[in-house]
């Protein structure tokens, strides 16, 4: 419940306050979102598995976002930012899919 309310508050804040993202950070925003999505789905799956741990969630969330941004930043410095972004998105996408599949099994038992 608290998670849903926080999510709604955050989305509302992002939509209506429209904080200006610094130009230098703009390339990392989509990757950060995908990484955060991965952490959130992982947490949801853990919740359904009954092994949710709030500390693990908080740490994995922020470290996911930071590491994803860091990888893209490194890629930018090395001239392979686009390729690394693609790689990160692919890996996180696979994880998201398998997590969602696990959640689906818990919800629909199918």
């Amino acid at each position: 419940m608290i998670a849903v309310i926080g999510l709604l508050i955050g989305i509302a804040a992002g939509l209506f306050l429209e904080p200006t993202v610094p130009e230098a950070l703009q390339p990392y925003l989509p990757i950060a979102v995908v990484a955060a999505l991965d952490a959130v789905f992982g947490a949801a799956r853990a919740h359904f598995d009954g092994i949710f741990d709030d500390r693990v969630f908080v740490i994995s969330f922020f470290s996911n976002v930071l590491i994803a941004a860091l990888i893209v930043y490194l890629g930018d410095q090395l001239g392979v930012g686009g390729q690394l972004s693609t790689g990160v998105v692919v890996v996180l996408g696979i994880r998201i899919f398998s997590n969602v599949a696990a959640i689906r099994r818990h919800v629909f038992h199918a």
Binding site: I2, A3, G6, L7, L8, I9, G10, I11, A12, A13, G14, L15, E18, P19, V21, Q26, L29, P30, A32, V33, A36, L37, D38, A39, V40, F41, G42, A43, R45, A46, D49, I51, F52, D53, D54, R55, V56, F57, V58, S60, F61, F62, V65, V91, I94, R95, S98, N99, A101, A102, R105
Partner: protein, 281 residues
């Protein structure tokens, strides 16, 4: 994804790529949850307030990230759309301009072709007019000419006395010149004075004048024409008969010889005071 229980169990030594894929598919985030769950055998009954705050922070951060990136993408899209529209408008404008220039080019090419045609026509008529002008210059005596012909040298009789008939008269010279014209001469000069249709040959005092300039004997009449036929045809004309008579009866000296090349000077143009061109066009 049906064998939930196979997680963690290695599926044998596969190729590195397959191993990586298997690892990706099998190790999810909740590996850490499993570890944490194993460590704290009995999870806390409920999260503490501090933990709640942390979770809230993470979730709110996630929401903000989501919202901001949605906003940003939305905001960037119209920009790209605007640029796209502008580029399309520019392309069509340039296309229109190109078409217009093409049309203009075709129009100008047609005009150039027309002008070339008329230039060719003008050049033709100019060369025709030039030829005509040359012919007229030769005929009117304004143009210096050269060519084969005959030279008639005439002189008074050696013992000429005024009134006795041994003197060449203006009418005699007129007869000579007219005879040469009649015999086919194309250009005539007397003592270097070119004759035209309007040249007057007259007596003035004791001397014959041509174009009002006095001449002294001998009179050298140069005529350009066919040197083979001109002398004979001249003698057949009335003028020729006159001169044969003059030579026979009065001892006037008169000699004709042909020349391969004669040069006759031009003369100033005759000024026509009364005659005007008939403009039939």
């Amino acid at each position: 994804m049906t064998q939930e229980g196979s997680r963690g169990a290695t599926t044998g030594r596969a190729t590195p790529t397959e191993g990586l894929l298997a690892q990706l598919l099998n190790t999810d985030v909740d590996e850490e949850y499993l570890v944490a769950a194993a460590r704290t055998a009995s999870p806390a009954a409920g999260p503490s307030n501090a933990r709640r705050m942390q979770i809230s922070a993470a979730v709110v951060t996630f929401g903000v990230l989501l919202g901001v990136s949605v906003i940003k993408t939305e905001r960037d899209r119209p920009q790209a759309l605007v640029e796209r529209t502008q580029v399309i408008a520019q392309i069509s404008a340039r296309q229109t301009r190109l078409d217009r220039l093409h049309n203009k080019l075709r129009f100008e090419q047609d005009r150039v072709a027309d002008l070339q045609t008329s230039v060719a026509a003008l050049v033709t008529s100019a060369s025709r007019l030039g030829g005509e002008a040359d012919m007229l210059g030769v005929a009117s005596g304004e143009t210096a000419v050269h060519g084969p012909g005959v030279v008639v040298t005439a002189d008074n009789a050696g013992d000429a006395v005024p009134g006795a008939g041994g003197i060449i008269l203006d009418t005699d010279l007129q007869a000579l010149v007219n005879g040469l014209w009649a015999a086919g001469a194309e250009a005539i000069a007397i003592n270097g004075h070119r004759l035209s249709t309007m040249t007057a040959i007259r007596f003035a005092g004791q001397a014959i004048t041509v174009d009002y300039r006095s001449l002294t004997p001998p009179y050298i009449v140069a005529a350009i024409g066919d040197p083979n036929t001109l002398p004979a045809r001249f003698l057949e004309t009335a003028g020729g008969q006159v001169w044969l008579g003059l030579r026979a009866n009065f001892g006037i000296r008169f000699r004709t010889r042909t020349a391969e090349r004669l040069e006759l000077p031009g003369r100033p143009p005759d000024s026509l005071l009364w005659a005007h061109r008939v403009t039939s066009r």
